[in-house]
């Protein structure tokens, strides 16, 4: 069973971000980088902001990530989450991948215990149809 109910909006990959979701379907979190100069960028887009190359490559994110900020959603703005609130939306970053952050969920922890700066490890949420969504939970001491 996935973290959110089945009615939850799903990723709808488009031409510019399909590489990101193809990697997710293989349970790999990959950020886009310029194929020419290597500059990282997120969300995916078709041209390098630094050198304007349209060549791209994908860089796999290491674990653990670190919580950059978070909020605790109590008011359900969509019917799919009415039975799920409160839940934590976090923004995480990866110390070795400067310039990219990911919006995700911080799970498996009391929401009052989440802290900015805490290390978190990825887990893959099976949302059906062959798609997996990256979410994070507190890192075990051996991960950090």
């Amino acid at each position: 069973m996935s973290f959110f109910p089945d009615e939850m909006p799903r990723p709808e990959p488009d031409r510019d971000d399909q590489g990101f979701w193809e990697a997710c379907a293989q349970r790999r979190l990959c950020f886009q980088a310029c194929g020419a100069c290597g500059a990282l960028r997120h969300p995916p887009r078709p041209i390098c902001y630094r050198c304007h190359s349209v060549e791209t490559k994908w860089v796999e994110a290491p674990s653990p990530a670190v919580v950059y900020t978070f909020c605790v959603v109590h008011h359900p703005n969509h019917p799919a989450v009415a039975s799920r609130v409160p839940y934590v939306v976090g923004v995480v970053e990866f110390p070795s991948l400067p310039g990219v952050r990911l919006v995700t969920n911080i799970t498996d922890i009391a929401h009052s215990a989440v802290r900015i700066g805490m290390p978190v490890s990825i887990w893959w949420d099976d949302i059906g149809g062959g798609m997996f969504v990256p979410r994070f939970r507190p890192a075990a001491p051996s991960d950090a």
Binding site: D14, W21, I116
Partner: protein
């Protein structure tokens, strides 16, 4: 014709009634917008045949060319829409009107916004139209209260900003609304206890930290100083106006939150605020009253820092001890009740209140107010701001 005579000013303001969302059902959003424009023209002493430009923002559905037909405006010479969602473009639309009249493209430009959330979509709910929706929707990050709560959380982590400081922004707005019969919350007081007892929307934002959802329309008439001199209406000078955005903010708070680390917990305004004050020829200290966009209390605090009223992280201390309170504070803030307690018309009601202050017509009038800062939406892309001045 001298350049100075082309300087822009505001000669009329108009509005519909403001109600809770869904409160206006007897007329369409387009109709109340047209009525607000007519009210602004009457206020200015102008007629529809004098208008030759329209400017709006936030993908306003009440399109200028359709408004031209509806109001019988013979010729349009200016028609513009500011890119970007939310209220960030409110003062940017004013900037476009100023650019139009200063450059001579048009002579009388109406800036307007009509927003009936009971007839269209509610901005506080999930929408399929979000920028970069794939990177927020599957994680339950659906709407601005949650998206901007992420900025407020980091702001409170980095600096000595507390829930008490958030509450002061909220309670100040309500106290001002309680003096303003136009305000949706005119008859409803709010105590500190009620603020803290209210439910969470998205921690660290409680119910009253979030703006109202309302129905209403606002319009402002911009023309040249030369034209204004021929009108009986009391004109208000636009001393300076600016809009802009920093790197990566276009996919920022409403998207994947990849803004630069050094201004993540900010309003995305600091890159133009210094120029804004320099062009107006005043310093933050010389601002008599301010209308700062208050969709969420924490962003209003950040704006006090980004506009230079205080240093980084000092806004909580700045607003303590009554500094933003009418009538005795040094910087009375959001004197109509703002969007937390008057109405949420994507900031256009803040612009109208700025004009009222400089005309001496506010229900929380700052004695002898000569300068007023008005900002557009904060933490989005673009953001915008203006400094209004009272004609001498």
């Amino acid at each position: 014709m001298s350049v100075a005579r082309q300087e822009p000013c505001i000669v009329g303001v108009g509005q519909s009634e403001f109600t809770r969302w869904g409160g206006i059902q007897d007329r369409s959003q387009f109709q109340i917008t047209a009525e607000a424009i007519c009210a602004a023209l009457r206020d200015a002493g102008l007629s529809a045949s004098d208008v030759d430009g329209f400017a709006s923002f936030s993908n306003d559905a009440n399109e200028g060319p359709l408004m031209q037909v509806a109001l019988g405006v013979p010729v349009i010479r200016w028609s513009s829409m500011v890119w970007g969602g939310g209220g960030g473009g409110s003062i940017a639309a004013l900037a476009q009107a100023c650019a139009a009249v200063e450059a001579g493209h048009a002579n009388v430009v109406v800036v307007y916004r009509g927003l009936c959330q009971g007839q269209g979509r509610r901005f506080g709910r999930f929408s399929t139209g979000r920028t970069q929706g794939n990177f927020v929707n599957p994680f339950g990050l659906f709407a601005p209260p949650q998206m901007l709560a992420l900025l407020v959380r980091r702001f409170m982590h980095l600096y000595p900003i507390t829930e008490e400081h958030l509450s002061e922004v909220v309670l100040n707005a309500r106290a001002n609304a309680n003096r303003n019969p136009r305000a949706v919350m005119y008859a409803r007081t709010l105590s500190r206890e009620q603020y803290f007892q209210a439910r969470w929307i998205a921690e660290p934002l409680r119910l009253y930290d979030c703006c109202l959802e309302t129905d209403g329309a606002c319009a402002v008439v911009v023309t040249t100083r030369e034209r204004a001199n021929d009108l009986s209406a009391q004109a208000v000078d636009i001393l300076a106006v600016a809009h802009g955005s920093g790197p990566d903010w276009g996919t920022g708070p409403l998207g994947s939150h990849n803004m630069p680390d050094d201004d993540y917990a900010s309003t995305n305004s600091k890159r133009f605020t210094r120029d804004l004050f320099a062009r107006a020829g005043v310093s933050p200290r010389e601002i008599d009253v301010a209308q700062i966009y208050d969709h969420f209390s924490g962003l209003t605090l950040m704006a006090l820092e980004d506009y230079g009223f205080c240093g980084r992280g000092e806004s909580g201390d700045f607003i303590s001890r009554g500094r933003i309170r009418w009538p005795d504070g040094e910087l009375p803030l959001n004197t109509s009740g703002g969007q937390l307690s008057e109405a949420y018309v994507h900031g256009m009601n803040l612009l109208i209140e700025g004009v009222r202050q400089l005309r001496g017509e506010s229900t929380s009038q700052v004695p002898n107010a000569r300068t007023c800062l008005v900002t557009g939406g904060l933490g989005v892309s673009p953001t915008s701001g203006t400094i209004l001045g009272r004609r001498q």
